[in-house]
């Protein structure tokens, strides 16, 4: 597994072939095409599609009659948004303060080494994505790692290989749809 290309924030926008079947139109309608709801629309689109494809942002911009740069500005300002599809399996390492003082930096380094990618990237085969998050509210169990949305507490660097193996195994059992729901 070699590193995918540049960090998420800097890449060119990606197209997908799903334009027609996408939920974007419906989501814009649900928000009454209201400019004030722009962030909420983008959140809903990302939740439905896993990321913000270029066509979706263009669709929103056209519909609200605002420049695409404004939509793109929002999508890159807020940490939550992704402009690239996530990995099939997302590993999210909490790097909040409580987890940091208990050694989260080492855990993150181990994930990066094992997957061969940096935080914010996806492996070339799109199998794994690695992200960080600031506090998930389970500080008592820190350092915390979320594997496809499931909490793992008291993670140490030496547990990383086992966790990745378990992720792979459980993924083979669960159908894809159930997984993305659990992560949301």
């Amino acid at each position: 597994m070699r590193a995918a290309t540049a960090p998420v924030r800097e890449i060119a926008l990606v197209d997908t072939p799903e334009i027609l079947s996408s939920p974007v139109g419906r989501i814009i309608e649900e928000h009454h095409n209201d400019r004030n709801d722009l962030i909420a629309m983008l959140l809903d689109i990302q939740d439905a599609m896993g990321f913000l494809p270029r066509f979706a942002m263009e669709h929103v911009a056209t519909s609200l009659e605002i420049p695409i740069t404004e939509v793109y500005g929002i999508a890159t300002f807020f940490k939550y948004f992704r402009l690239k599809p996530p990995g099939e399996h997302q590993c999210t390492v909490c790097t909040g303060t409580a987890c940091h003082v208990r050694g989260a930096a080492r855990v993150l380094r181990e994930f990066e080494r094992h997957l061969g990618i940096r935080s914010g990237e996806v492996t070339d085969d799109r199998e794994y994505g690695l992200e960080t998050v600031n506090c998930v509210g389970a500080c008592a169990l820190g350092p915390i790692v979320l594997l496809d949305g499931d909490y793992q507490g008291q993670v140490t660097a030496s547990k990383v290989p086992t966790l990745l193996r378990r992720l792979k195994r459980s993924a083979e059992k669960k159908p894809v749809a159930a997984r993305s729901e659990a992560a949301a």
Partner: protein, 609 residues
């Protein structure tokens, strides 16, 4: 009159389903209890109540039984059968499952007798463990919405503002601005449209009290906002919660719907002329969005960039209209002030900081959790009496307060009473209530680098001192952590830090150097050790440490060599193993797996001169 419904004598099993307990397996525990009840045909007779966070997250999953108030920590699914058969049916506590006092090892049956709880003074958090947050009736049972009824029936808006002012309540979101006077300013604006906003952004990484209140007791926040809206004359309000807190978003949205259906929100509330409604707005994860002007910008669907103040939001906020923005905890205090009177509230706390404050006590402390104490309580009391001290017999080194833009206080300052003024004087801030405990294995230079890196990342980039200053400070700190520091780095940090703090536009930049300045102030020796001796006394900065296996402890089991990802460990079975420093990548895996504690982290490695 609003009336709840439950019978206090009916046996009830209360299970905490806050985030901490769920992460610890509370979901399976709930299933186990449901199944055992069904097996015994007790599903109707015994209620299972799923509550929000009780705050004692270290001991989760937590189960409390009513009416006996028996408390069981760290409950596993297999305990359900025994608990139901012995405690629920036979009313006998199970001694070996009870909580044990960490110092005396005596079992304690009742939640309220446990030091973690008994040293707290809970007002806002008190109700979290008692109600199912998705059930409006539970809330009505404990006197919910009585304050609102009272206000609408008997008080004028000016009376309300007067009560809130007299209570001495100050904002819990960071700056500590008095709530009453802020409301007064907004109420005096001639505008036709006014707004109230609840700030639930909680960007402090390592603090989760606002989220626990929103998840565990959402109606209290709504009630406070309704009262505030009545006082200033607002018809519309917003609750801003991060999208990353899906449970909080769900709970508060549900509460809004239920309240609307029951006539506590919407047109002509409780049959009066007062109309007010609320909208839940989701944030998308940016620390700076917690700043009030940035938050209002993101409610308007724009980038969350702060703007110059004045005008303050109370004069010109959402869509240019007067807007009162308060923190979750501030709003949740309002109904209690109305119910018990401003004098009661003002009698709690210190001279200039009234009432209680919730702290999120995390890091190197035995009892991680949410702690609500009167303002003015000493750090010692919080860390030792409530938090149970530092694990593994290590020594307390520092306590960090105020979130990423806060500062660190050294161990010799722990008798400091925590209130807005005392913390300022000591060089840190209250912030929203994060309290991170650090022991001797925490490196203060690394901590400063961590926070500075966080602030650099979160700086919106609008003003130069903050954007460039945080970047340069982070680079200087990195140099020091990696052994390239000079004494000039230190003086440059001092100078740059002062500039950033005095010339930035918003509260983020104005405190961005506090982590650096406070650690230099109190832990100068540690900086100097990194710079002069190329050594990290805490054993954290990888470039300045080395791993070594102690000859007298190693039994040659080979576990370390097997897991070493760099294949840097050599040795024959049953003989002393050694680490090749040239191959070692300092990941620490060997130390994790060694059962003999034979792997030592030594300071001053790496750098050969």
């Amino acid at each position: 009159m609003l009336i709840g419904r439950s019978d206090p004598e009916r046996p009830c099993i209360t299970i905490c389903t806050g985030t901490g307990c769920v992460a610890g397996g509370a979901g399976d525990v709930v299933e186990a209890f449901r199944k055992v009840l069904a097996d015994h045909g007790l599903s109707r007779r015994v209620e299972i109540r799923l509550t929000g966070c009780h705050g004692f997250c270290e001991m989760g999953p937590l189960v409390t039984l009513q009416p006996s108030e028996t408390f069981y920590p760290k409950v596993r699914p297999k305990d359900a059968k025994r608990i139901i058969e012995q405690t629920v049916l036979n009313k006998e506590p199970i001694e070996e499952l009870l909580y044990r006092d960490p110092s005396t090892h005596e079992p304690i049956e009742h939640e309220g007798d446990i030091p973690f709880y008994s040293h707290q003074h809970r007002i806002v958090l008190a109700e979290n463990g008692r109600i199912d947050p998705t059930n409006l009736n539970d809330f009505l049972d404990i006197g919910g919405y009585l304050a609102l009824q009272n206000v609408l029936a008997t008080m004028s808006p000016a009376d309300v503002i007067d009560d809130v002012s007299r209570s001495g309540l100050r904002g819990r979101g960071g700056a500590g601005f008095p709530a009453g006077p802020k409301w007064k300013i907004a109420s005096e604006q001639p505008a036709a449209c006014k707004y109230v906003v609840c700030n639930g952004d909680e960007g402090d990484p390592g603090a989760y009290m606002d989220r626990s209140v929103l998840e565990g007791n959402p109606h209290r926040v709504l009630e406070g906002m309704c009262i505030g809206a009545y006082a200033i004359g607002a018809q519309q309000g917003f609750i801003y919660v991060r999208h990353e807190y899906p449970l909080a978003v769900g709970r508060i949205s549900r509460a809004v719907q239920d309240a609307r259906r029951a006539g506590m929100l919407g047109e002509r509330i409780l049959g009066t002329d007062f109309s007010f409604d609320l909208k839940v707005v989701r944030g998308a994860g940016a620390f700076v969005c917690g700043e009030e002007t940035a938050l209002i910008a993101s409610i308007e669907g724009r980038k969350g960039e702060p703007r110059q103040r004045p005008p303050y939001p109370a004069v010109s906020g959402y869509m240019g209209s007067p807007t009162v923005i308060n923190n979750v905890e501030t709003w949740a205090n309002i109904p209690h002030i109305i119910n018990n009177g401003p004098d009661w509230y003002a009698s709690i706390g210190s001279e200039h900081s009234k009432g209680t404050k919730i702290f999120s006590l995390v890091g190197k402390v035995n009892c991680t959790g949410l702690v609500e104490v009167p303002m003015g309580t000493s750090i010692r009391s919080i860390v030792y009496d409530i938090g149970g001290g530092i694990p593994d017999q290590k020594a307390l080194k520092a306590v960090q307060t105020g979130g990423p833009a806060g500062g660190c206080l050294p161990a010799d300052q722990i008798d400091l009473p925590i209130d807005f003024e005392a913390l300022r004087e000591a060089g840190t801030i209250m912030g929203s209530g994060g309290l991170i405990v650090m022991d001797e294995s925490t490196c203060m230079v690394d901590v400063a680098r961590y926070f500075t890196g966080f602030l650099e990342e979160e700086s919106c980039g609008k003003c130069y001192p903050c954007r460039k200053g945080t970047q340069r400070m982070r680079e200087l700190l990195e140099d020091i952590c990696e052994g390239r520091g000079t004494m000039e780095h230190l003086s440059l940090l001092d100078e740059l830090g002062a500039t950033v703090n005095t010339t930035s536009m918003c509260g983020l930049g104005q405190n961005a150097a506090t982590p650096v300045l406070s650690t230099i102030r109190y832990f100068r020796d540690e900086y100097i050790a990194h710079i002069r001796d190329h050594c990290c006394p805490a054993g954290v900065c990888t470039e300045l440490i080395r791993f070594e296996i102690m000859a007298d402890l190693c039994d040659g089991c080979g576990a370390c060599a097997k897991v070493c990802p760099a294949e840097a460990i050599f040795g024959e079975k049953n003989e002393l193993h050694t680490i090749d420093p040239n191959l070692c990548i300092k990941c620490g895996t060997c130390k994790d797996v060694c059962t003999k504690d034979a792997v030592l982290v030594l300071s001053g490695g790496g750098h050969e001169h």
